[in-house]
């Protein structure tokens, strides 16, 4: 019997190694797998490269990982979001490298990795500082910049509900980067509010199919209602 559910967050993040590239879904403080991030902190992996839209807020989750010196590099579009003091301190002390990427380019680079493609040409950032050093090509009379695929060793995902196969649904704008990142990593780990029986989800409403999901852990008491 297939059952991807694990009992604890510690089990869910077991085996994530030093130097891993970690896809951290969410937008601002919404749709972020904070329980898994705290468990990753306790697990101790270091020298991490984190791909996220923002760079952590407050003193928990991603901010806690950064504050503890576990993160070597952040690839994100907008680090100055919420209470980003942990990132700012690391950035100013130069203990952390920042790769700034336009928001739509981050998601498309991951989609590209998911789709097994070798990269793509985008008009976004052409002629700006963020395109410096990148290959360019004129397509249809417009300058395009070559962007490489971006794949994670692990993705930390927040969903509303899962079944034991790992099919996922999300909640409102907490969906954001989650379905994209869930498909773009070697190991996809999901924290959910609730588990549902196989067959209970409307197949028309499943957003992330189980093929992309490896481990699921329940972190909330949220009741399932369809």
């Amino acid at each position: 019997m297939i059952n991807k559910q694990v009992k604890t967050c510690a089990e869910a993040v077991a085996g994530i190694s030093d130097g891993a590239t970690v896809l951290v879904a969410g937008f601002g403080a919404v749709g972020v797998a904070d329980h898994l991030l705290d468990a990753l902190h306790d697990q101790g992996a270091k020298e991490l490269t984190v791909v996220a839209n923002n760079a952590g807020t407050g003193d928990y989750g991603l901010a806690k990982l950064i504050d503890s010196g576990r993160v070597r590099k952040v690839i994100c579009s907008y680090p100055r979001s919420g209470d980003y003091r942990a990132f700012l301190a690391a950035y100013r002390s130069k203990s952390l490298e920042l790769e700034l990427v336009p928001q739509g380019t981050i998601s498309e680079r991951m989609r590209c990795a998911t789709a097994g493609l070798g990269g793509f040409f985008s008009p976004v950032s052409a002629g700006t500082k963020l395109a410096e050093g990148k290959e360019t090509r004129e397509i249809g009379g417009r300058l395009h910049v070559f962007e490489r695929p971006l794949k994670g060793d692990v993705a930390l995902i927040k969903a509303r509900a899962a079944d034991r196969w790992g099919n996922l649904i999300y909640s409102k704008s907490a969906r954001n980067f989650n379905p994209v990142m869930a498909t773009a990593a070697e190991l996809t780990v999901v924290e959910v509010d609730t588990m549902v029986e196989l067959g209970e989800m409307d197949p028309e409403a499943i957003v992330t199919p189980s093929i992309f999901v490896d481990r699921v852990v329940v972190v909330g008491e949220g009741a399932w209602s369809s």
């Binding site: 919404v30 579009s77 700012l88 700034l100 700006t128 999300y170 954001n176």
Partner: protein
């Protein structure tokens, strides 16, 4: 001279949003434009974090922790609105599916170059968010901004002095003094606030302005 308030600039930009348009509102003054779309005109607002059909701000006490807008403020979903993931939200932006992107700006050049993401202050990390995607991808980019900077310096420039967001993308500029179109042969003033001469407006603007033969007075309602 009566400068427009931020709300009045947003009101003016909202009047140009046509029935049925798909529109993204940037953070800052553009966000206010949602409040001033004429009644009975259906405009569909897009939010980069995966919302098509963004509704008005929730009333106090009805906020949903899972529902925010691009500025990370509490939001609602309009009737018939829907959610999508980030790659699809940006496919709509980048692929030319949005009719209009209203953006804030630090500077705009006479060619329509836009600078709105970095001030080059080395003490703070840079942040770009969706600014470059929105500037490049929407069918029409319109900018809302104060006509001059804090020290009176022109923000409509021959060439932008701050880091560029995108080249040759801005089609219309709404400032607190005028409505200006960016045309292939230069900047054309369509509307100007009362109590300021064409010469005064020119003195606050770096590139040469042309004035429409049908120049209108820009007079929003006081309530805006």
């Amino acid at each position: 001279m009566v400068k427009l308030t931020r709300e009045q600039v947003a009101w003016r930009a909202a009047q140009d949003l046509r029935e049925g348009a798909f529109v993204n509102l940037g953070i800052g003054i553009p966000t206010l434009a949602a409040n001033f779309v004429p009644k009975h005109r259906e405009v569909i607002f897009h939010s980069e974090n995966g919302i098509l059909g963004l509704g008005p701000r929730p009333t106090s006490g009805t906020e949903d922790p899972n529902l925010i807008d691009a500025g990370k403020s509490p939001a609602t979903l309009a009737i018939d609105g829907c959610y999508m993931h980030h790659a699809d939200a940006f496919l709509m932006i980048r692929g030319g599916h949005l009719d209009v992107s209203l953006l804030g700006a630090f500077e705009v050049s006479e060619a329509g170059d836009l600078a709105n993401w970095a001030t080059d202050d080395p003490t703070f990390p840079p942040g770009v968010g969706g600014a470059m995607d929105l500037a490049v991808g929407a069918r029409e980019v319109r900018v809302l901004m104060d006509h001059v900077g804090k020290n009176g310096e022109p923000r409509i420039r021959h060439r932008c002095t701050l880091p560029l967001t995108a080249l040759c993308v801005v089609k219309r500029i709404y400032t607190n003094l005028a409505v200006i179109d960016v045309q292939p042969n230069g900047l054309l003033v369509r509307e100007i606030v009362g109590g300021i001469s064409n010469i005064e407006l020119q003195s606050l603007t770096e590139p040469k302005l042309q004035f429409s033969t049908n120049l209108q007075i820009l007079a929003p309602p006081l309530a805006a």
